[in-house]
């Protein structure tokens, strides 16, 4: 695997010279100054910073004032942020992190190793990262700017870096959070970090205003003076805002899909599907293998053949997507493989396979299923209709329900009250544990969302994931990941039905967009306006 310490080092040197470390995006000399209004395709967050995570919206708002140790760029290379270097020990049971010097918090206090130790042990492990840090036994400050992370088993370097650059890896100030409860600290609505943007004002129901951090550690950055993040409740309103110049930039499908082409044709706007490599989304289908006849692999494979996934892509996602093949999505160029069993739309074959499984057509159909489409995305309801139609065409009776978010979560993950569920996930590049836990016996935990809810497990799969978790040789690890995709696609307990693109829409004069693999969560210090 090409992502070793050298790249982090190379990135370090480059980090001091803006424009080098970042891939060839710097078209012209960035201009200083200006105000930018940004939004995303969702709602206002419940708080600007929600320590346990809280979803995309607080992730968006919290990553402007708060920073992480590393970042994963568009080319899937590690870039230094608050860490300058990360060195694994020879046995990969510990990692030494060298921190950036001369960094201050927004309140003027110095950023030191103590902050990282506090964040790791009091925040990441118990709250935001969770199981991925199960093997972490201790974090020690070796000096004021060096921290050692110690594990009770070998940890792949890519995995460790993923934690540091991941959604749960924000570094929080010890002097503010050490007293009281991190989750309920009122400072979460007026966050203090090391980042390029300082909190100024949050007008609930409208927007949050960030102003330039003049003491930011990277010279001359951020380029902008002010950054507004504003929320509209529906895509049509965001579209109107773009057209009336009230909005410069929108992440994650801000406007109705059919309108994107029109915006881009006007020449005033650009759309970009890059910048979501480490947060790619898919809609999934899940078979509850506790229930006959879905416990039969042949039946699950047959049903996959009955669903017209291209129709889903064309009508529900307006052609911006593709049928899913592998739980490690195609946006993940490091671990994805297309060399897996595929299920094309073929009702005749599906009928034949169901016949072969002994499920012949009776007066009431072959059998009936409860189909649950999770109502957290409007699209899932529409997908539900298409899946229902496909299954009914091969004489499977379908009872479709589209419960709202809490009820969907409860029925899928707590009550296991479904036969087939249509849901979603977004996955980072690192497949362990976010994707792998859907397929292993360890992942079965009643009442815990986005885990293995279908009851599927085989010794072969458990063993494969166990090896994937501790393999420190990058090439061998990639091979294991490919094998994982093949096994998952063969067994079909849970597969991506379609992968759908996320789009960023921006005015043409907004420069340096989509420069990270999960760009919504980057600090946007390098964003500038060519006006």
């Amino acid at each position: 695997m090409p992502f070793t310490r050298r790249h982090v080092l190379a990135g370090t040197a480059a980090g001091l010279l803006p424009g080098l470390g970042r891939p060839a995006f710097a078209q012209a000399t960035p201009k200083r100054g200006g105000t930018l209004v940004a939004t995303w395709g969702g709602f206002e967050p419940q708080a600007l910073f929600v320590p346990p995570g809280g979803g995309t919206s607080p992730f968006f708002t919290s990553t402007k004032p708060l920073e992480r140790l590393l970042a994963l760029d568009q080319q899937l290379k590690w870039q230094p942020v608050l860490a300058q270097r990360v060195e694994p020990a020879a046995d990969f049971r510990s990692f030494t992190v060298h921190l950036r010097r001369g960094v201050t918090w927004h309140d003027g206090k110095n950023f030191t190793a103590e902050d990282v130790v506090f964040s790791a042990m009091q925040y990441w492990k118990p709250l935001s990262v969770g199981v991925a840090l199960n093997a972490l036994t201790a974090t020690r400050a070796l000096d004021s700017h060096t921290v050692r992370f110690e594990f009770d088993r070998p940890v792949p370097e890519f995995f460790f870096n993923s934690v540091l650059a991941g959604q749960g890896g924000l570094v929080i100030p010890k002097h503010i959070y050490e007293t009281g409860n991190i989750v309920t600290n009122p400072i979460n609505n007026t966050p203090i970090g090391t980042g390029p943007w300082k909190y100024k004002e949050w007008v609930r129901g409208s927007h949050v205003e960030y102003v330039r951090n003049d003491n930011y550690w990277e010279n001359n950055k951020p380029y902008l003076d002010r950054l507004f993040i504003r929320w509209w409740r529906d895509p049509a309103s965001r579209l109107a805002a773009f057209e009336s110049n009230a909005l410069d930039l929108g992440c994650f499908n801000p406007v109705p899909m059919p309108e994107v082409d029109r915006l881009v044709r006007s020449g005033r706007f650009a759309a970009d599907s890059k910048g979501y490599e480490s947060s790619a989304w898919c809609s999934t289908i899940e078979f509850n293998v506790r229930k006959a006849p879905l416990d039969n692999r042949l039946v699950r494979q047959a049903l996959m053949h009955a669903i017209d996934r291209q129709l889903v892509v064309d009508t529900v996602f307006f052609k911006r997507g593709r049928p899913g093949l592998n739980p490690i999505l195609s946006a993940n160029s490091l671990f994805h493989t297309g060399d897996v069993p595929k299920y094309d739309f073929n009702p005749a074959k599906a009928a034949q396979m169901l016949d072969a499984a002994g499920l012949r057509k009776g007066r009431n159909g072959r059998f009936s299923v409860n189909l649950l489409a999770a109502g957290w995305f409007e699209e899932n309801g529409k997908i539900g209709q298409i899946v229902q139609q496909g299954l009914e065409d091969v004489d499977v009776k379908v009872n479709l329900s589209v419960p709202d978010r809490p009820t969907s979560l409860k029925r899928i993950y707590t009550d296991y009250d479904y036969d087939i569920a249509l849901s979603n996930y977004t996955a980072p590049i690192e497949a362990v544990p976010v994707i792998s836990q859907y397929y292993v016996s360890d992942g079965i935990a009643k009442g815990v969302a986005f885990r293995n809810a279908n009851g599927f497990h085989t010794p072969a799969m458990d063993d494969l994931v166990a090896r994937l978790t501790v393999e420190t040789d990058p090439a061998k690890r990639t091979a294991l990941a490919h094998e994982f995709g093949r096994q998952a696609a063969t067994e079909v307990p849970f597969l991506p039905l379609v992968e759908f693109d996320s789009l960023t829409v921006a005015r043409s004069d907004v420069k340096n967009i989509s420069t990270g693999s999960n760009w919504m969560g980057e600090t946007w210090a390098d964003l500038w306006l060519d006006r």
């Binding site: 995570g53 409208s206 978010r405 836990q437 815990v448 969302a449």
Partner: protein, 323 residues
């Protein structure tokens, strides 16, 4: 009058208690707690961590204890703490309240202006083309769902004509340009949602007004006044309007709660950042401190408005005062 006020306020207490208990139990019955939502959003996947959150949020206690604690805190005007917003519930509600009040008042104003005018005109020109046209419009707006009316108004005035914004309450830049600019900006955003919500009530008021005016116009004293040679319109305005306003005031009190409910849908259509949007978000995230808070808070407001209407009635109608 004071005695009546005190009596009505005292009657309100068990009412509010009932509302709290009813809604508390209702929400407890919901499948899926807000912890499910929170853990899912956060991708919290560690059962031990979930248990810790359950304790933090007091959800490990028996339901009746949670209820008693809640009633006790409401009595001290404390509606609990919303962990989702990380703020006291009352603050969350008060933050959304102004937007809803502005919308409601604007709608009621539109309703009163249009409704009363239409009703008076229809009654004075009874059985003419004007009467028929206005009555037709009234039944039409009385039947149109507000959310659909909102969308259609948007298509016409915002999308096709571009006169007003599609949604939101103010432009981001408005707050930097002084109070006048801000007010104008809000009014600009307010026009469509207030119409969508207000036209229904305008229709109601027009019908009531027309009927009441017809009754008043046929009364003896009006005929006398006319016979005395007073101008047609002055008669109507001086005598008719004042007497016909009684049923309107009653309706206002009765409908205050309905307008509040109606604002939920209209706020959704127009991205209006008020109680309706808050309520819908909170229902869908099972944020029950806030759901309960909004239900209880709005019930209290409705009760208070009704008491105020009773008192206003007392002033307006001398016959009742005499009793």
């Amino acid at each position: 009058m004071l005695r009546l006020l005190r009596r009505r306020l005292l009657q309100g207490v068990p009412l509010i208690l009932g509302v709290i208990i009813m809604n508390f139990l209702l929400i407890q019955a919901a499948p899926g707690s807000f912890l499910d939502v929170m853990s899912a959003e956060s991708q919290v996947s560690d059962p031990a961590m979930l248990e810790q959150l359950r304790v933090t949020y007091g959800m490990d206690q028996p339901v009746w204890l949670q209820l008693v604690k809640y009633i006790w805190s409401v009595a001290r005007l404390d509606f609990g703490f919303s962990y989702r917003q990380n703020m006291p519930v009352l603050d969350v509600i008060l933050a959304s309240l102004p937007a809803t009040l502005v919308l409601m008042l604007a709608s009621l104003l539109i309703a009163l202006l249009l409704g009363v005018t239409a009703g008076v005109v229809a009654a004075v020109k009874v059985n003419t083309i004007w009467d028929n046209l206005l009555s037709f419009l009234a039944v039409l707006f009385f039947a149109a769902p507000s959310f659909w009316l909102g969308i259609m108004l948007t298509v016409l005035f915002a999308v096709k004509l571009g006169w007003v914004p599609v949604g939101g309450m103010m432009s981001i830049t408005a707050s930097n340009q002084g109070i006048v600019a801000t007010v104008l900006d809000v009014l600009h955003h307010l026009a469509l949602p207030a119409m969508a919500l207000g036209l229904f009530y305008a229709a109601v008021y027009a019908r009531v007004m027309r009927a009441a005016m017809l009754e008043v116009l046929s009364l003896d004293f009006i005929r006398t006044a006319r016979a005395k040679g007073l101008g047609r319109w002055r008669v109507v305005l001086a005598h008719g309007l004042r007497n016909a306003l009684l049923p309107i005031v009653t309706l206002f009190g009765l409908q205050f709660g309905t307008v509040l409910g109606g604002s939920i849908v209209v706020e959704t259509v127009f991205s209006w950042p008020g109680l309706g949007s808050l309520m819908l978000d909170s229902v869908s995230s099972r944020n029950y401190p806030v759901v309960l808070g909004v239900l209880v808070f709005s019930s209290i407001v409705v009760i208070l408005v009704n008491i105020a209407v009773d008192l206003a009635y007392l002033r307006l109608d001398p016959r009742i005062r005499a009793r």
